[in-house]
Amino acid sequence: MVTTIAVGGLPVAWDHPRVTPPGEILPGRRQVLRTVAVAAAAAATTTVLAGCLPGDDEPEPPDPELLLRARVADEVRALAGRYAATVERFPEARAELATLGAEHEEHARALLPRHAARALASATAGATATESRSTSPGPAPSPTPAVPSTLPAARAELAEAERAASRRRLGQLRRMPGGSPELARLLASVAACEAAHAALLSADA
């Protein structure tokens, strides 16, 4: 049985998420405003990126938000690399760890979509390294730390790396240039995912 409840005067449908998309807890006016805000933020990002496209005789310096997206994308790829190295050392943990690592690859793609990576490469002097990074889905360029010799120790180290990454993400959120709402929301979600990974790795150890 599914009925409707009132939260703060607003009707709230507590349907199963497979029936109703998530986010229905507070539908109505505010949801509409949010959707508009997200669309506007996405449009603004496109405009910013357009300013970095090649074609101008004097390319403008990369937008600070784009640089932040690129830096965080590098960091989450480095995390994915640590998972890959751990799975290589402990194949028996692949089922769990590969899933978590793949989520960081998703973070990187969301933070720096292909068109944004190209824009950054065009706007960055000495773009060779950036170009290769943006066109190949391989591991992060930074060296991956050595994997501990036991699986529990390796899991603990991954958990600590996730915790540190989550803290770092919230710091990046606080110091964000400009204050793009869309990127802020994405960074906060990535931070939440990293903290959840840490909790899962610690809980099951």
Binding site: M1, V2, T3, T4, I5, A6, V7, G8, G9, L10, V12, W14, D15, H16, P17, P21, P22, G23, E24, I25, L26, G28, R29, R30, V32, R34, A37, V38, A41, T99, L100, E103, E106, H107, A110, S166, L170, L173, R174, G179, P181, E182, A184, R185, L186, L187, A188, S189, V190, A191, A192, C193, A195, A196, H197, A199, L200, A203, D204
Partner: protein, 156 residues
């Protein structure tokens, strides 16, 4: 849908309160619902799961009380809990209870994620913390991760 022409937006009292209070009221309303849900779910859980649910219940009550203070400090009239809440599905056993608390935390994560979108400064950080706590709780209840907690448009 409410339009501006129909009167002052929710939460505005004599022009003192801005849109920030609307966002905080959304979070407070969600916390009211989550507190209620944990009360229901806790009754169907046993052992360690029940202990964890009780700790979560206390944590959400504290967050609810904090939000009541923050809304009041900004001149708003904190929303009250609903007289009753209908559940998304019957909660008759531990499995139902775990599904309920997972769903509650996921929805709370979405509310805080939207708050990040609309808030700035310390309140934005607070919203990010709220999203993080809800995402951690949801992951532990479901014993699994999702890549983008709180972001409905990126959920598979």
């Amino acid at each position: 849908m409410t339009t501006a022409a129909e009167g002052a937006p929710d939460g505005v009292v004599d022009g003192v309160v801005d849109g920030v209070v609307d966002v905080l009221q959304d979070a407070l309303a969600a916390e009211h619902a989550v507190v209620y849900g944990y009360g229901v779910a806790g009754a169907r859980l046993a052992g360690r799961a029940r202990e964890r649910a009780l700790r979560a219940y206390d944590r959400h009550r504290a967050q609810r009380d904090e939000l009541v203070r923050v809304v009041a400090d900004r001149g708003g009239d904190p929303v009250a809990p609903a007289a009753s809440y209908a559940l998304p599905h019957p909660v008759e056993d531990a499995r139902d209870a775990l599904a309920l608390v997972t769903l509650l935390e996921e929805r709370l994560a979405a509310v805080w994620a939207d708050a990040v979108l609309e808030l700035h400064g310390d309140l934005r950080q607070r919203a990010a913390e709220g999203l993080r706590e809800a995402a951690v709780a949801a992951a532990l209840w479901r014993r699994g991760s999702v890549p983008f907690p709180g972001l409905a448009e990126r959920s598979a």
